[in-house]
């Protein structure tokens, strides 16, 4: 059967599965809709969190990003996993003890201020929309690459599916579809990775394989003997690049600050925090962070192995090879314009080099994942599975983000600011309407992507790092933190971070170079400084103003103990 036929079958089957799960897990109450009635098993919540977290970008682009960044790419691996340690130790158990539905709600009650809550709602909605636009686009891109539909048709199909299960099932529906989506995406990621590792090194564990020596058959394929990473380092130096395993172009301080901003930003993202509200107990909240990170780490430790194998294979099978003898996957993906050859010196031989005047190969980083099944000569159904995996990653993340938007609108704005005596039934209707409207807006951005989407991803993490994270941490660990401190802290943290990013990304993009940056920190890493500013301002202002009311201090104290204590 052809790749196309297999892809329609497997993608169609996976969509039917998600819809079936959604019908089975229909939300009946607001508790179901916002937090899945707090009845999700911690291991399942871990899987759901993994799917929630790993987006189209993690699935399709991350290995390629690492393949071309080399050593510097590790900042994404550490940055997008280390935040879960912070979540497990500093946030999840205490927010679960608080026991309500949304992050803005916690901020509002802890700092006894309606305005703090509104600021938090605006941040949550902004961060989530920034993210979700990219996901809907991702769905369209996967459709167009694998199923040869128009990108916009792909976005519409994705919208219809998410609309169905997010509006119907709320958090309950989303959770169980995310569990299914995790299984699909991890299988689709691991199968090609395992086969490639076996093909080159004979070791079925890619994490170990890329630190081993190539096998006999691998040596024939790659035309070199020894450790995979040594071969790759040598290829890089031969072609004029920096060694793959050595420091890249970024300064140490920048790598440090970007890693920190990503970690802290992860721990401050509302669609991740909200997942820890869905488990029955506080000890489940801690454990579920561990399961989530385990499930995430399976993909995140495989990605650098995929990157190393694919990059080595790419250079070896393309550089210095006559164009007529190019491997079949090269010819196939040439049609999608993800790879290309321009014979600059007219010798008919493909040359790959750092020097743009000599280099004749154009390559999109996504090819490092997308072409793997063909490189490993796997059957057509595996290619189809990779398509279904990419869609699962994009849809699951989109759904989680849409739920944050829906609950922020229906619970934090409609119910608590606009109409306090709303019945639960009306609130549930509003939650569904809000989810529906959010899907449509996200779809609109997917079809008409604002040019700045790629630019504002740094925004999402920077904003989460400089707003939510410090306010929640101090709110839990420091009883004395008060309304005045938190408000000024959040405002100064966000203003500084936003101003820095806007200046370098939009006002003066040509000046966005290390020489102009504050202490050599790029806009991607500036959220770390924004966070520090927020913390310092909150502490100083809280000290100078009067302490929070007794009932708030009692609430903070009660967060620290899993069991309600008799007075």
């Amino acid at each position: 059967m052809s790749i196309l036929a297999w892809t329609w079958i497997i993608v169609g089957f996976s969509f039917a599965l998600y819809i079936g799960v959604a019908i089975w897990a229909k939300a009946k109450t607001t508790g179901d809709f916002y937090v899945a009635a707090k009845q999700v098993h911690p291991v399942l919540n871990g899987m759901a969190t993994g799917a929630d977290w790993m987006s189209a970008a993690s699935f399709i682009s991350m290995a390629g990003l690492i393949a071309f960044l080399g050593r510097d790419g590790a900042m994404y691996l550490m940055g997008w996993t280390g935040g879960y340690v912070l979540l497990a130790l500093l946030l999840a158990p205490y927010l679960r003890k608080y026991g309500k539905y949304t992050v803005p709600m916690f901020v509002g009650e802890r700092y006894y201020s309606q305005s703090a809550r509104v600021v938090a709602v605006i941040c949550a909605i902004f961060v989530s929309f920034t993210y979700v636009a990219g996901q809907m686009r991702g769905v369209g891109v996967v459709f167009s690459r694998f199923l040869q539909t128009d990108i916009n048709t792909g976005v519409m199909i994705g919208m219809a599916i998410v609309f169905f299960y997010a509006v119907l099932g709320g958090m309950k529906g989303i959770t169980y579809t995310q569990v299914a989506q995790y299984c699909v995406l991890i299988t689709a990621y691991l199968i090609p990775a395992i086969f490639i590792s076996v093909m080159f090194t004979g070791n079925p564990i890619p994490q170990i394989g890329y630190g081993s020596q190539v096998s006999e058959s691998g040596a024939q394929l790659l035309g070199a003997n020894g450790y995979v990473l040594d071969i790759l380092d040598k290829l890089h130096t031969d072609l004029g690049f920096a060694e793959y395993t050595h420091r890249g172009a970024k300064s140490t301080i920048d790598v440090f600050m970007i890693t920190l901003a990503l970690m802290v930003g992860t721990a401050g993202l509302p669609h991740i925090i909200i997942r820890f509200f869905t488990v029955p107990k506080i000890r489940d909240a801690r454990a579920s962070a561990g399961w989530a990170l385990l499930f995430i780490a399976i993909l995140y430790t495989t990605a650098p192995a995929v990157a190393a194998f694919a990059k080595t294979n790419f250079i070896q099978s393309v550089n210095g090879v006559a164009y007529e003898d190019a491997p079949s996957w090269f010819k196939n993906w040439e049609q999608t314009k993800l790879v290309g050859f321009e014979d600059k010196n007219g010798d008919g031989i493909m040359t790959y080099a750092k020097d743009p005047a000599v280099n004749e190969i154009k390559v999109d980083r996504d090819i490092m994942v997308l072409a793997n099944p063909e490189i490993a000569k796997l059957p057509n159904w595996v290619v189809a599975l990779v398509a279904a995996g990419g869609l699962a990653a994009a849809l699951s993340t989109a759904a989680g983000l849409l739920l944050v938007i829906a609950s922020a609108v229906s619970h934090d704005l409609m119910k608590n600011v606009i109409s306090k005596d709303m019945s639960e039934k009306t609130e549930l209707v509003w939650a569904r309407v809000a989810a529906g409207v959010a899907v449509v807006i996200a779809g609109y951005f997917g079809i008409n992507p604002p040019g700045f989407v790629a630019q504002v991803v740094a925004f999402a993490f920077g904003l989460a790092a400089s707003s939510f994270f410090p306010v929640i941490i101090l709110g839990v660990f420091w009883r004395r933190a008060n309304k005045e401190g938190a408000m000024l802290g959040m405002i100064s943290g966000i203003t500084f971070t936003a101003a820095y990013i806007i200046y370098f990304k939009f006002v003066n993009p040509s000046g966005n170079t290390a020489a102009n940056w504050l202490w050599g920190i790029s806009p991607e890493g500036i959220g770390s400084i924004g966070m520090a500013i927020n913390i310092v301002v909150t502490i100083v202002v809280s000290k100078l103003t009067k302490e929070p009311p007794q009932d708030v201090q009692d609430m903070v104290a009660s967060l620290r103990y899993p069991r309600e204590l008799a007075k």
Binding site: R71, A74, M75, L77, M78, T81, G82, Y84, V85, A88, L89, L90, P93, Q207, I208, Y210, G211, S212, Q213, Y227, V228, L229, D230, T245, H246, R247, T252, V255, F256, T259, L260, K281, I282, R283, R286, A287, A289, G290, L293, L294, A297, Y300, T301, P304, R560, Y561, P562, R563, L565
Partner: protein
Amino acid sequence: MADKEKLQAYWKENLVYIVVLLSIWFAVSYLFGILMADVMDPIRVGGFPLGFWFANQGSEIIFVILIFVYVKLMNNLDRKYDVHEP
């Protein structure tokens, strides 16, 4: 009063766990993977320069272990101070 002291002791032990585990969190990623890369990289484990391994694999694996260690420690601590959930 005894109860109050007990609760404070519980919280203090929790804070000690957090500080110790976060120090390891910092060491394996920021220290071994980034700041000390030049010292660590000449040491090889199989085909991996050690600093490269910590940045690519080690820190992620150790992060997972840290969380499960914390889960275990806290479950025991909750029981020790009798604040565990029913």
